[in-house]
């Protein structure tokens, strides 16, 4: 039992995302406006962060920067002990394929690919054979009770089902970080609840989730609620102690994506067990 406490301690102490003095400017000179202004944030492994705030306060920009889709104008973004600016574009793409899962408000399933092809898409870019891809995608869809819809096209599914397929796509390569941009924004309250339950399940397996939402009712799912205002943090409330955050489920084959530093982390964990 003491061992378990220790293990939790070591995991929750691990900072996975660190933003230092981050700024993002759009436009130049007189027309310049800042989506993010001197933004500081530390995200620990296993957190479920909900980001709230009025439209245009920089929530989506923040998510895009964390997801390596955008680059900050100034400041540093450290992902797993490595400054993002030092990661090559190619490796950034690989990280997006393997370590980061995106969930969008409008689902963003590719309309002319079947559900299973959509879900297996991230695996295309991490180098899986077609059969392996389909097996893994099928497993992921099974988790979300969409196994019988595998060969449907996205438009043949309801909004809630599409979003669940999109979440299946986000988790199919077992990413550590899941970024969700208003995942329930286009859904009715019942579908929202289902989607949120799915996210809670993913979170309980030890994944880090950063979610942008407008709906205050959903904050009950989060372990930390951040309110943003004009590109900076207004309030930052942790509802769960760091030590109570879920522990990542140890997978059989840790992927060596985060270079040697990551490897040593895995070794540490194994040694503790």
């Amino acid at each position: 039992m003491i061992m378990n406490e220790e293990q939790k301690e070591s995991n929750t102490n691990e900072v996975i995302i660190e933003l230092k003095g981050l700024s993002k400017r759009f436009g130049y000179g007189d027309a310049a406006s800042y989506a993010l202004k001197n933004f500081n944030l530390e995200v620990k492994r296993g957190e479920f962060i909900m980001i709230m705030g009025p439209s245009g306060c920089g929530k989506t920009t923040l998510l895009n920067i964390i997801g390596l889709l955008d680059t900050p104008t100034s400041g540093t973004y450290i992902l797993n002990d490595e400054p993002a600016s030092r990661i090559s574009a190619r490796r950034q793409a690989r990280l997006r394929a393997k370590k980061i899962g995106f969930i969008f408000q409008n689902f963003n399933l590719i309309p002319n690919l079947s559900i299973i092809e959509n879900v297996s898409l991230p695996l295309v870019y991490s180098g899986y054979h077609k059969t392996r891809r389909l097996i893994k995608a099928s497993e992921a869809l099974d988790r979300f009770n969409l196994k019988d819809k595998e060969y449907y096209l996205p438009f043949q599914l309801s909004g809630g089902q599409q979003q669940r397929a999109a979440i299946a796509r986000a988790i199919v390569s077992h990413p550590e970080i899941i970024l969700a941009d208003e995942p329930t924004g286009n859904l009715d309250s019942r579908s929202s609840a289902t989607v949120m339950e799915e996210l809670r399940r993913i979170h309980s397996e030890g994944n880090t989730i950063i979610m942008v939402t407008h709906n205050p009712a959903l904050t009950s799912y989060a372990t930390r609620v951040i309110n943003m205002l004009d590109g900076t943090i207004d309030t930052d409330i942790k509802t769960v102690k760091d030590s109570d955050l879920p522990v990542p489920i140890e997978r059989k084959t840790p992927r060596k994506i985060f270079k040697s530093r990551k490897k040593s982390n895995f070794k540490k964990k194994k040694g503790k067990k």
Partner: protein, 410 residues
């Protein structure tokens, strides 16, 4: 890498299948260009084949003397084509024939004085532009020709005699058996003493259609036409082994006899086909350029379609990038799509081109010519077209900003 390529191939295939009509039409553009190139190449090949086949049929002991060596340059051929003074420069004479005849190792010599004149038959039928060939009795031996009826020309005959090709006989007299009838050429009457057996080789190294020609003795022709031009002297050597030696000897003695004049060429073996071939290669070169232009148009078609495809899939590109596609991945995806289009078009063009050339061969004496070079050219050309015209759209797709792309709804 191989896995990635296969995956991209699958992706490209499925996206092309989604737009069947569009893909097909794009392919069609390429295939028309490729088909015309193939048609031209295959015709060119078959013509060259035809002539060289003939030379080998006539025998490898053949030497041909032609006036002026400048004929092989592009400039001179073009000027000859445009000024129609094609044989004005001929400096070969009947004396040269005698010179060659005396050379050791020469079995037979015959001049070819080709001119176009109007011929008048016994009734009022005339052929306004018939090919008249002034030659000598050796001609039959050299060409391995045979007579259908009658006898061939004799040098010592007192009356002007002539031999006629079957096609010309038919158009002048309405019969293929005009022996004994007379033909008037430049006011001189010639008695027909023989008809040539049909050869059916309209394209040959003499550049005349023997079936449609009128043969008289060069010496007889010289009497009525002082400006007799000998365009070619055909020589058969006694021995194939000494062919080049004899050709060399012919050249030397001709230079000597003509007191240093070197405006003639002595050709033997494969070289004989060249003058016919060089004119041909210029024409087919020009045709190939025209075909190349249609290929460029086809390539622009590919570019256009790929640009449309990239634009309407902007959102998809955004999604793909967000879930892990690198710039290179997207580039490859669209490039492979363009390559599939162009290669499929090339394949279609190959089939279309050969179908056309087979059709053409039904009405012309050519045989369709298939060679690995043509296949390689087709493959290379369509690959290159796909690469050149597919690269820009692919680059455009690959460098799209994922954030803007995600917001873009077509």
């Amino acid at each position: 890498m191989a896995l990635l390529l296969r995956t991209h191939y699958e992706l490209a295939k499925s996206s092309l299948k989604r737009n069947r009509t569009r893909s097909f039409l794009t392919c069609l553009g390429i295939s028309i260009g490729v088909a015309s190139i193939i048609l031209i190449l295959s015709l060119m090949g078959s013509i060259t084949n035809l002539v060289s086949e003939q030379v080998s049929k006539v025998g490898s002991s053949l030497v041909v003397v032609r006036p002026t060596s400048t004929r092989s340059t592009v400039d001179s051929i073009v000027s000859e084509l445009t000024t129609s003074t094609q044989y004005l420069k001929s400096n070969l004479t009947l004396k040269d024939v005698d010179t060659i005849k005396k050379i050791e190792g020469v079995a037979a010599v015959s001049p070819l004085a080709i001119s176009v004149n109007s011929l008048k038959g016994e009734t009022d039928t005339t052929v306004p532009s018939a090919t008249v060939i002034g030659t000598n009795p050796d001609f039959l031996k050299i060409q391995n020709l045979s007579l259908k009826n009658g006898v061939f020309l004799r040098e010592d005959s007192e009356t002007p005699t002539a031999v006629i090709g079957t096609k010309l006989a038919n158009s002048l007299f309405g019969t293929a058996e005009p022996i004994g009838k007379t033909i008037t050429l430049l006011g001189q009457r010639f008695i027909i003493i023989g008809t040539l057996a049909e050869v059916d080789d309209p394209i040959n190294f003499n550049n005349v259609d023997l079936d449609d020609s009128f043969f008289v003795c060069a010496s007889a022709l010289n009497k009525i036409d002082n400006s007799l031009q000998i365009q070619q002297i055909n020589v058969r050597t006694e021995n194939t082994d000494t062919l080049t030696d004899t050709a060399e000897k012919i050249k030397e003695s001709l230079v000597a006899a003509k007191s240093g004049d070197t405006n003639f060429t002595v050709l033997s073996g494969d070289e004989i086909t060249h003058p016919a071939g060089s004119l041909l290669s210029i024409i087919s070169g020009i045709l190939a350029i025209v075909a190349g232009i249609s290929l460029i148009v086809g390539g622009i078609g590919i570019m256009n379609i790929m640009l449309v495809s990239v634009a309407e899939r902007t959102h998809e590109i955004g999604v793909r990038k967000a879930i892990g596609a690198s710039t290179g991945n997207i580039l490859l995806q669209f490039l492979i799509e363009a390559l599939i289009l162009s290669l499929a078009g090339g394949f279609m063009g190959l089939i279309l081109g050969y179908a056309l050339s087979f059709l053409l061969c039904l009405v012309t004496p050519f045989n369709p010519f298939v060679s690995w070079q043509i296949l390689a050219i087709t493959f290379g050309v369509s690959l290159l077209t796909g690469l050149i015209f597919g690269l820009y759209p692919a680059l455009k797709a690959a460098h799209k900003n994922p954030i803007y792309s995600l917001k873009y709804w077509a």
